[in-house]
Each structure stands twice: as C-alpha cells, then as structure tokens.
C-alpha cells in the first residue's frame, strides 16, 4: 500500500466511493454537534461572568458559587466528551480500515 502511488483519478475514485462518503457523513454528523456543544458550553462560562457577575457569584452549594461549580463542571464535561469521542472513534477506525484493505486489493489487480 505504501509504495503504491495514486493517480489523481484513483484519489477521486476513493473520495467518491460510497462507503467512504458514508463514513465521512457519519463522522461529520458526530463531530459537528459535539464541537458546537463543547464550544457553547465552554464559552457560556466567560459569557456568564461578563454579563451576569451577580448571578455567577451567588452561593448555591456549601457556599460555593455558580461560577465555582460551573468551572469544575468544565473539567468533568471535557473528560466526558473525551471518553465519548474515544469510544465512537474506534468504530470509525474499523470502517476506515476495511476501506483501506478493499482499496489495496482493488489497486493491486
């Protein structure tokens, strides 16, 4: 596989392969919402501090404020999203691997 030099036509063929197109779509459907969610969740913290400092500094639990708890939640949520991504990515890897093997067999002919 590594020594095979692809022609532009072969790259195009791979890019238009139905399985590859499906893989790309599945990846996008997973990653785009995830990215939007984490950016909004993260930026909500500085936005809250900027726009509503009174609310953010209100003590809600054991004299910890909303900002304190939200800050720690950021770390926990980041770890959660990491775990989610790691789990999902393995299935993408498998599909990509199958594609690579099939392409190798085809181009060897």
């Amino acid at each position: 596989m590594q020594h095979h030099h692809f022609t532009p036509g072969e790259w195009e063929a791979l890019a238009n392969d139905p399985e590859f197109v499906a893989l790309l779509r599945a990846r996008r459907r997973f990653i785009i919402p995830l990215t939007i969610f984490f950016l909004l969740f993260y930026l909500a913290l500085p936005a809250g501090i900027a726009l509503a400092p009174g609310v953010m500094n209100r003590a809600v639990f054991e004299s910890l404020s909303v900002a304190n708890l939200f800050g720690f939640a950021q770390i926990i949520v980041a770890w959660g999203l990491l775990a989610l991504y790691m789990r999902e990515a393995r299935s993408f890897d498998k599909r990509a691997q199958a594609l690579v093997e099939r392409a190798a067999a085809e181009f060897a002919k």
Partner: protein, 541 residues
C-alpha cells in the same frame, strides 16, 4: 538549601545530557531529527504533550495567578484543558495522517503555494518565540530566587544555552524523553505539595475553602473564590471572554504541540495521546488549584515574590514603607533582592512554607526541568519551521542531503536561542502565564483558523489562507502593541487580550479572501486530502 537545589538541578541536567547522548545517534536523518522516526507510542506522546503543557507557565504562572487572583487565575486552567477538545475533534488525526514535519506542511499540502507556506512558517516562529520567552522568564525568576548570587539575566542565559545543546544533539527523540521524565517529576512534586497544603488544613477541603474566602492581602482579606479579582473594571467582562476565546482555540495553533502528532505511528496513537494528555493535564490543574489557593492563604500575597532568607528585612520594609528608600539600596548592596511583587514565585515559596528547604529544592528543580524541556520542544518547532519550510522549500527549493538539512536546523536553533535569551532578559519581570496568553492569542488568530479551514472547507483558497493568517497576525500583534501592557495609561486599545478582535478578524479575512479569488487547483486537492485525513492512506510512515 542552595546546595540541595544545585544538586537536584545538576542531576536533572546530567540525566538530560545522557538522554541526549543516547538520542544523538538516532537523530542523524531528517526524519529522525524532526519526528523521531514516527516511533513514539500514543501513551508516550500523551505524557510528552502533558509535559509540554505543564510548563513553567502552568506550574509557576497559574499557581501564582490563583494565589493572587483566585478564580480568575483558574479560568486560564479551564481554557487550557478544554482547548484539547478542539485539537482532538478537529486536528489530531488529520494532522498525523497528512503532515510530514511541520504544521506548514499540512496547510501547504492543501493550498499548494509558496506564499502560504512562508506565512505559516513565520507565524510558527513568532508564536514559538513568545512562548519561549515566557518559559525563560520563569527560569530567570526561579533560579534567582533560589540562588541569589545568580541574577535573573545570567539564569536566563544559562537556560538558553543548555536547551540549545539538547536540541542540537538530541533532536526530537531526546526532547520527547526529557519531556516525559519531566512530566512525571513535575506531577510528583505537585502531588507532594498539594498533600502538604491539604495536611496544613487537616485534610479538610472545607477548611481550605474557608481560608480561601478570607485570604490575607496586606492588612485586609480577599475572597479568592469570587470572580473579578483579575478581570475587573469597565472592560473586565470583555477581557475574560477575549482570553477564553484565545485559550480554547490557541492550542489548535501551537506548533510545538501539533508537531507531536507527526511523531506517532498511527491516527489511533494520535488520539490516544490526546486522551492521556487530557487526563494528566486535568489532574494537574486540580493540583494547581490546591497549590494556588494554598499559596494565597498559607504564604499570603504579601510574602510572595520576596526573598526567602531575607524575610525579616523585607517584613520590616513592608511595615515601614517610609524607610524603604533608605534601606533598599543598602539591602541591594548586600546582595539582597529588593522586594517586588512577582507572581511567578508562589509555588516555590509555598513549598518553603509547608515543606521546608528540601521540598523547595525539589519543587524548584522540577520547575527548572520543566522550563528546559519545554524550551527545547519549542526550539525544535522553530528550527523545523525555518529549516524545512523557509530554507528548503522557499529559498533553496531543492532536496538537500540529510546532513545539510540538519546543519541548517541546528544553525536555526542557535540563532533562535540567542534571540529568545535577548527578549527574555528584557521582559524578565512580566507574569509568565500572561506572556503565554499572548502566544495563544497569536496562535488562535493565525495558525488555528488556517488549519481548521484547510482541513474542513472545500472552497478555502490560497488567497483566503494568506489574507486570514496575515489579518490575524497583524491585528493580534498591533493590538498587543496598543494594549495597556505596552502603552500604559495612554493605551489606544483597552484590553490586555486581543483575541476577541483578532480571532474573528482572522476567520473573516480567510472567508473574504476565499470568496474574492477562487482557487480550482486547491479545491481539486480537497478530495485527496479528505481521503488521506480520514483513512491514513498515503501517510508518512
């Protein structure tokens, strides 16, 4: 204490030299020098990335910022950790699959053109220089604190020379292993220090919280858990948002982090490395928070930044400021450091308060190791940007031999080292987390938009990339130059962090440039890029 510190410094330097000697034989080729033959595993790279991140900035800078400004300092830590999600979701695997030696490789693969590569290489050099100066300023304060006969200036020069030696002979392999060992060392010392802080509060987080809510600050107390201690005033809210934006996107443009994805064998390993890095960094920031609050409450702001052994004299001056003018010159003549607020020293001073001289020596040695290792990684990123992207792709435009390549890369390392030393001496009293914040602003406005768009947007064109990177670079640098940090009270731009303006500007210019000039050639490469990025076909091995 000085002796214990010196011994520990020496042990680490010697250990790093041994690694460098071992690695030097394997770094004779370009692949070896820049990417360690792509043989570093995911877990090793994860530790190395964590090591890159647990820099002087995190360890000294964040601990200091939390000690002084509490929650607002913690905001840096949150942003830096969350930033890895950007890297993981958008960049880690595609970069490993499409890149060769440098970040500019990936951008230039998608947008074939000399201009794009030249600008990407220049932004890389500027970002690494900012980051390097921050580390070396940290080294200066630290060594000067512990061994007062060595001035900050000499300390910076020594660190600069040592790291040039590591990079010259060891290449990426030595840099990575020095980083891994150091990450372990630093994590260990943070754990010890945090346990010592908790022990001080009889292992009660509530007691720590109560103390933090009434931390001593020279005559009165402050609540470190409240927001707004650092980001205050009319523009405080915009400031914190601007900083957060730069932090969350900045890592996606940091060359010394991204280049680690060129050293792993598979996309899966790249992903695993980010996973390990996020786990380690998250734990580290929990520890940093404990250390920062500990320093703010146990040591107290007033005593941070003052010399350990002269606290008596300094306390006297603090109580009798009217005598300062008379006493300061006398103290300085006797080799004492005249007290000044230096937020970078919270961690070692905390170690002195809760653990004593031996722990201080250990913590200082760990911090020193950190600085050496991180600066070495940055130097490699800069050297490859110049040698591979500028010299061989743009000036000589031919494939030189491996020997020549490495000769140029080593020459660059030396020159960069000297520039960094000169800048660091000039900026030696600025907070290091703040300096790195600036590096993040530039990275988030230049490399990050270009990389993200190159990998995801089919129509993205050469003109777009050039406009985007130039707009991001010029606006972020100009706004820093016009900020209160540079211009003082007559600042034209009211914010310390330019991200809120320069990041959208970088993206906007990239969009406008793309819409103005279509680029069929680059669009044609997009399909190939997507196949490569998502399957790893045709990747460097």
């Amino acid at each position: 204490m000085t002796q214990a510190t010196l011994v520990m410094f020496a042990v680490f330097v010697a250990m790093a030299l041994v690694i460098t000697y071992w690695a030097s034989g394997r770094s004779a080729s370009r692949r070896g020098f820049y990417t360690a033959h792509r043989e570093i595993t995911g877990i090793q790279t994860g530790w190395a990335i964590a090591g890159d991140y647990m820099s002087a900035t995190s360890f000294l800078g964040i601990t200091g910022l939390i000690a002084f400004y509490g929650y607002d300092g913690f905001m840096y830590a949150i942003g830096w950790l969350v930033a890895y999600l950007t890297v993981l979701f958008l960049l880690a695997e595609p970069l490993r699959n499409t890149g060769r030696y440098t970040v500019a490789d990936v951008i230039a693969f998608r947008l074939r053109g000399r201009g794009v590569r030249a600008i990407a290489a220049c932004t890389t050099l500027i970002i690494t220089l900012f980051y390097m100066v921050a580390q070396m300023v940290g080294a200066g304060s630290l060594i000067n604190l512990l061994i007062q006969r060595i001035s900050e200036t000499y300390a910076i020069i020594v660190v600069g020379l040592l790291m040039v030696i590591y990079v010259l002979f060891g290449g990426m392999l030595a840099t990575t292993w020095v980083q891994i060992i150091k990450a372990g060392l630093l994590l260990a010392s943070s754990i010890v220090l945090s346990v010592a802080v908790l022990a001080h509060f009889h292992f009660s987080l509530f007691a720590l919280r109560d103390a933090a809510m009434a931390a001593p600050a020279g005559g009165h107390t402050i609540d470190l858990l409240k927001t707004g201690l650092l980001f205050s005033g009319r523009f405080g809210g915009i400031e914190v948002f601007s900083l957060s934006l730069a932090l969350v996107l900045g890592t996606a443009g940091l060359p010394h982090i991204l280049m680690r994805f060129f050293t792993v064998p598979t996309a899966n390993a790249a992903r695993i490395s980010v996973g390990w890095a996020m786990a380690l960094i998250g734990v580290f920031y929990f520890l940093t928070t404990i250390m920062g609050l500990g320093a703010g409450t146990i040591v107290g702001q007033h005593d941070i930044g003052k010399h350990l052994r002269d606290t008596q004299a300094i306390r006297y001056i603090v109580r009798h400021p009217e005598d300062a003018a008379r006493l300061n010159p006398e103290l300085a003549r006797n080799g004492y450091i005249v007290p000044q607020k230096n937020t970078n020293l919270a961690a070692p001073l905390l170690a002195d308060s809760v653990g004593g001289p031996l722990l201080t020596a250990f913590v200082a040695a760990a911090a020193f190791a950190t600085i050496l290792a991180v600066v070495a990684g940055l130097t490699i990123a800069a050297a490859s940007a110049f040698a591979h992207d500028i010299w061989y792709s743009l000036i000589r435009t031919e494939e030189g031999s491996d020997r020549e390549h490495i000769f140029v890369a080593r020459g660059t390392a030396i020159v960069i080292g000297f520039i960094a030393i000169a800048c660091s001496v000039g900026l030696r009293t600025v907070n290091v987390a703040f300096l790195v914040g600036l590096a993040f602003s530039v990275a988030a406005s230049t490399n990050a938009p270009a990389l993200i768009l190159a990998l995801t947007w089919r129509r993205f064109s050469r003109t777009g990339a050039i406009c985007g990177m130039l707009a991001g670079l010029i606006s972020s640098l100009a706004l820093i130059a016009a900020s209160p940090d540079v211009m003082g009270e007559r600042a034209i731009f009211p914010l310390h962090n330019p991200g809120i303006v320069s990041i959208p500007l970088g993206f906007l210019a990239a969009f406008v440039g793309t819409l103005l000039a279509r680029d069929p050639e680059s669009e044609a490469v997009f399909n190939q890029l997507q196949v490569r990025a998502n399957t790893g076909i045709g990747a460097e091995v």
